[in-house]
Each structure stands twice: as C-alpha cells, then as structure tokens.
C-alpha cells in the first residue's frame, strides 16, 4: 500500500540543518497495524507526517497505492488525504463551538459531500458516544474527546489511519478503550499506523518500527 524508497528529510532549526530522516526504506501492506517508536527527536513524527502526506520528503520517493506522490501538488495531496487518510492527534483538535456530530462530519464537509448522517451515527455508536452527539467538546472528558477524534478520522472511510500519540493524554482506562477501537478499525481492514512512546501500546501492534537518529533500526 505504501512504499518509501530512500526517503530523506532535512529541515533548518535556526542556523542548524537537521537531518531528520536518513535513507528510509519501508513497505507497509494493506491491513497492517504498525507502531512507530523511538525517543523524542528520533524522527518518528516526521516519518508519520511524510506517510500522511502532510509533509514532503527532501529526497527519495513515496508510493501510495502504487502512485508516486512525491511530486504531487497541494490540491492533489489534499484530495488523497481527505479520501484515503484519517488523522488522530494527541491533542484531539476538536472545534469547541461545533457539536460532537459536526466535528465528526468535518472531513465529509471538506469532501464536498452531502453529510452522511447515517455514517456519522454509526461512528458515534462505534465509539460509544451515541448519546452525546449534540454535546460540545467542552462537555466531554479527555477519553471521550479522543473517541470523537477517532470517529472523525473514520468519517470518509479511509484506507489508512495515522495516530500521533493517541493515548498520550489519557489515563490507563481510556488508553485501553482507544486501543480497542484502533484494533477494531484494523480488524475491519484499515491500515493503522501509531506513533507512540508507550511500549504497552506498541506491543499491541503487529509490527514495531523503531527509529533512532532518523534511521530505522531493526
């Protein structure tokens, strides 16, 4: 599904040039559950950004479903993101003045599709928040907010779900619930890639990719 060939990523921090990813070669098959782990600053989030087409590599090629997306423009990348990829963030990033329902519907809205209410209620049921569809995010707990974010990531039936430290702000009970949801999503055929510090979370993945100093270590 995804193929990375000799991916390099540089960025500047002040006057310093940081080599964030070095010659990354990686193949991810459809339906995998992958955990990317590593110390802070190792390059795992940069790798997730490149996999999610929200950042561009400085060198190398990235194939998504067989298409080299390395040279695609912003609008084409936006299209792939909204059609194929779902994002889950550590900080949830829900819009406070929109209801739970509207937050989940946001990717469909940007997809210029009529809001599929049935799908949204199905997702609410999936994340066990059917009763709270009218609530605002401010009325939810941290665990509930992350479940809304998971439902939002699934709104457009993505092939790939990327989660950046999805349990980083949650207690153990909510961590377990979120993990169960991610496993369920994966069970239904969606490829899931999780960036995490938490080895307990990583241990639930089918494959663990360890990153150190911008390199994949075996």
């Amino acid at each position: 599904m995804i193929l990375l060939k000799k991916i390099n990523k540089y960025y500047t921090r002040g006057s310093e040039i940081v080599h964030a990813l070095r010659e990354i070669n990686l193949e991810i098959s459809r339906g995998e559950f992958i955990a990317i782990t590593g110390k802070s600053g190792s390059g795992k989030t940069t790798l997730l950004q490149i996999l999610g087409l929200v950042d561009k590599a400085s060198g190398g090629n990235l194939y998504f479903n067989g298409i080299d997306v390395s040279s695609l423009g912003d609008s084409n990348l936006s299209k792939i993101r909204r059609e194929k990829i779902g994002f889950i963030f550590q900080q949830f990033h829900l819009i406070p003045k929109l209801s739970v329902f509207e937050n989940i519907a946001l990717p469909q809205f940007f997809h210029r599709r009529k809001i599929d209410k049935e799908r949204i209620f199905q997702l609410l049921k999936f994340v066990h928040l059917s009763e709270k569809w009218k609530n605002s995010p401010e009325q939810l707990s941290g665990g509930e907010m992350q479940r809304v974010a998971i439902a939002r990531a699934l709104a457009n039936n993505p092939e790939l779900v990327l989660a950046d430290e999805p349990t980083g702000n949650l207690d153990s009970e909510n961590t377990e619930r979120v993990l169960e949801l991610l496993l369920k999503i994966n069970y239904e055929g969606v490829t899931v890639i999780v960036v995490t510090h938490d080895m307990e979370v990583a241990s639930r993945a089918q494959r663990i990719i360890r990153i150190s100093d911008g390199r994949i270590i075996l």
Binding site: L48, Q49, V54, K79, R82, F87, F89, I95, F110
Partner: protein, 387 residues
C-alpha cells in the same frame, strides 16, 4: 454545516471581541450613511426651496450674496433697503413678466411676544408666483387680512378667523388662510399686503427686494445684464446663483464630514484586520487539523474571509438601521454644524444608498479578510501534528 456557519461559530468563540468589532463598524457605517444621506438631501432640499420661490432673480441692495440668500429663503434683518420707485424702473424692461416689491423682516406678535417672520408682498401677485400653494380658507384680499404658514399656525395655535396684533400697532389682522405644509421655510412666514408690512416696519418708500420673473427663462442672463447696466446701486442675484452660493458654503462642511467618516471607516477596517488576524494566529493548530483532514488552502481562505464579511456586513446593517431610526437626531446635529441648511427634512431613508453601504461593506470585508485569510491558507497540516 457550511462555510458561513463555521465562520460564525468561530466569531461566537470570542463574543466580546466580535461584538466590539461589529459595533465599531456599525458606528462608522452609521456616520458614513448619515453624512451621505445628509449631503444628498441637502442638495435636493435646497433645490426644492429655491425652485419653490417661484421667481427667476431678485433685485436687492448691494451687499453679500449669502445674506441675500438667507433673506430670500429664511427671512432676516436686512440693514439696507431699496427705493420703491425702482420697481417701476425694473418693470420698464420688456422682457420682464412680473416684478414684485417685497419686504421681509422680523417682528414680535403682541400677545405671544414671539418674534415672527413677516413677508410683505402684493397679495394678488403672490398667488401668481406660487400657483401650487394649497391652503385652508380664502387667500387674503385686503390690508387687514393675512395668511399664515403651516408651522406658525401649528406652533402658535392659530386658527382661521383668529385676529393677530403686532407690537407697536393698534390695528389687528384677521387670519383668512393657513397654508398647507410646504416643507420649506415658507411654513414659517406670515404673509400680508406690502402696505400693511410697510406700516408695521415704519418704512414708507423702502422695500427689501424686488422679486422678478422674466417672460422667457432663456432671457434671464441678458435681462440681468441690462438691468445692472441701466440701474446703478443694485445687486441682482439669480436663483441659480443662490443655489450655487449656498451649495459652496455647505460644501466645505460636507467635505469635513465625509473626511471624518472615511477616517472612522479606516480605523474600523484596521480593527477588523487586527481582530481577524488575532483569530487566525490563535487557531493555527485548528487550521492545521482542517488541512490534515482534507481541507484545501482555499477552504481555509474562505472560512477566514467569511468571518471578516460577517463582521462587516452585520455592522453595516446595524449602522444603516441606527442611522434610519436616529435620522432626526443626526439631522439636528448636522444642521447645527452646517452654516446654512434648508428648513425642510433633509435626511430621508434612501434604499439605494443603504444597499450601496451594505455592498461596499461586503466588498471591504473581502478585502480586509484577504491578508489574514492568505496567512491562514499557508498554514500546513504539520502545524497540527507537531503538537
């Protein structure tokens, strides 16, 4: 859900900030709308007042033309007088249709002690230069009868058949006609025969002006030239000159007013740019998230521009509404600033101007939202994931 609801929901996040910005816009649009309404109404009312005079020019003693304008339209105390014999000299010109001696002055009414404007004129000729006048009762025919303007009748409670005495005179005058409202200064005059006016003013052979109507309006200028050449010591002011003269006096005040409203508008535009910019900077991660879930740069651009448009257009609607309901008050304030204003109602709701104000606000909203929207659209999804 649509782009407007997204923009509106964000404005609700900072209600006070949004409300203050809307108020600033409403005030500046209100000032702008009022001053423009006043300027448009000023020219219209002035023209109506001048045209309503029913004459082509006035022969007056030499002096300031603005004073003459004031005399003709508002009444006043004129320090100089013309010899009445000049009326015949003016009449000798074959191009002249009507030449009517006029005395205009202020005088107190005995019982009420109110100072009123008196317009002394040959009553039979007055009707010929004011053919469109409507009135109750019958038009005065002799020296002891008078016609009263609408405002005076209303203010002093004068009815048909009432008798009015003027200070310094023993004889009284019977009100035989009360004019319907004309909406001009004519509503504030008492009309009587020129002989009676002379007696009250105690000026037997002197008059304040000669109102002249020529047979053919195309000959106004040549007639003026001929009379000026032939009769020394007079000044002739055409009604067109009066119009231009008063318009010029008012114009400088209008320019000041428009300048103030433009400054107010610029200040509120800066306020909007600042408010929207702050809002964008506070939501970098949110825009990043939207980009990550599939929003295009243009989607983000639209959300931000719509916020500016919502603030400006709602401010414009409120501003126009305030101006419309507060038109009387605003008019009184502006009348106290302007050196000369027609007495009729000047500020009237102009739907075309109101639509123009709202459309202009819409356009400015797009422009003011442009820079913050451009910045927002440049935010990358990485910004959200970095958190």
């Amino acid at each position: 859900m649509n782009f407007f609801t997204l923009a509106f929901q964000n404005l609700k996040r900072h209600r006070t900030r949004a409300l203050l910005t809307v108020i600033a816009v409403a005030i500046s649009v209100s000032v702008f709308f009022s001053i423009f309404s006043f300027n448009i109404g000023f020219e219209r009312s002035l023209k109506k007042e001048i045209e309503g005079a029913g004459i082509h020019f006035m022969v007056v003693p030499t002096g300031c033309p603005h004073e003459v304008a004031s005399l003709i339209l508002h009444g006043g105390i004129v320090p100089k007088y013309l010899k009445e014999s000049l009326v015949e000299e003016v009449k000798d010109n074959p191009k002249i249709d009507i030449s009517i001696p006029i005395i205009v002055f202020q005088h107190p009414i005995s019982e009420k002690k109110n100072i009123r404007l008196i317009y002394g004129i040959d009553l039979s000729q007055l009707k010929s230069i004011k053919p469109n006048w409507k009135y109750k009762g019958s038009f005065p025919r002799n020296e002891n009868e008078i016609a009263v303007g609408y405002d005076i009748a209303k203010h002093d409670g004068v009815n048909l058949g009432d008798k009015i005495k003027f200070e310094g005179r023993d004889d009284s005058f019977r009100v035989t006609a009360i004019l319907d409202k004309t909406g001009t200064q004519e509503d504030a005059f008492i009309y009587m025969s020129i002989q009676s006016a002379k007696r009250i003013l105690k000026k037997q052979d002197e008059i304040t002006a000669i109102a002249v109507k020529v047979k053919d309006a195309r000959n106004i200028n040549s007639t003026v030239d001929e009379l000026s050449e032939r009769i020394p010591g007079i000044q002739i002011v055409t009604m067109n000159q009066v119009l231009v003269s008063i318009s010029n006096v008012g114009r400088s005040a209008q320019i000041v007013g428009i300048s103030i409203s433009i400054i107010a508008l610029i200040v509120s535009i800066m306020g909007i740019v600042n408010a929207v910019l702050m809002s964008v900077l506070e939501r970098i991660k949110e825009f990043g998230m939207m980009r990550a879930v599939g929003a295009s740069r243009f989607d983000i651009f639209r959300i931000v521009v719509y916020e500016a448009v919502l603030v400006l257009t709602s401010g414009a609607f409120i501003g126009v509404f305030i101006s419309s309901i507060g038109g009387n008050f605003i008019e009184e304030v502006l009348k106290s600033i302007f050196p000369y204003t027609p007495s009729s109602r000047i500020i009237e709701f102009d739907p075309v101007l109101a639509i123009a104000c709202v459309m202009a606000s819409l356009f400015i909203g797009i422009l003011t939202g442009f820079y913050p929207a451009y910045l927002a659209s440049k935010i990358t999804p990485v910004e959200a994931i970095k958190s």
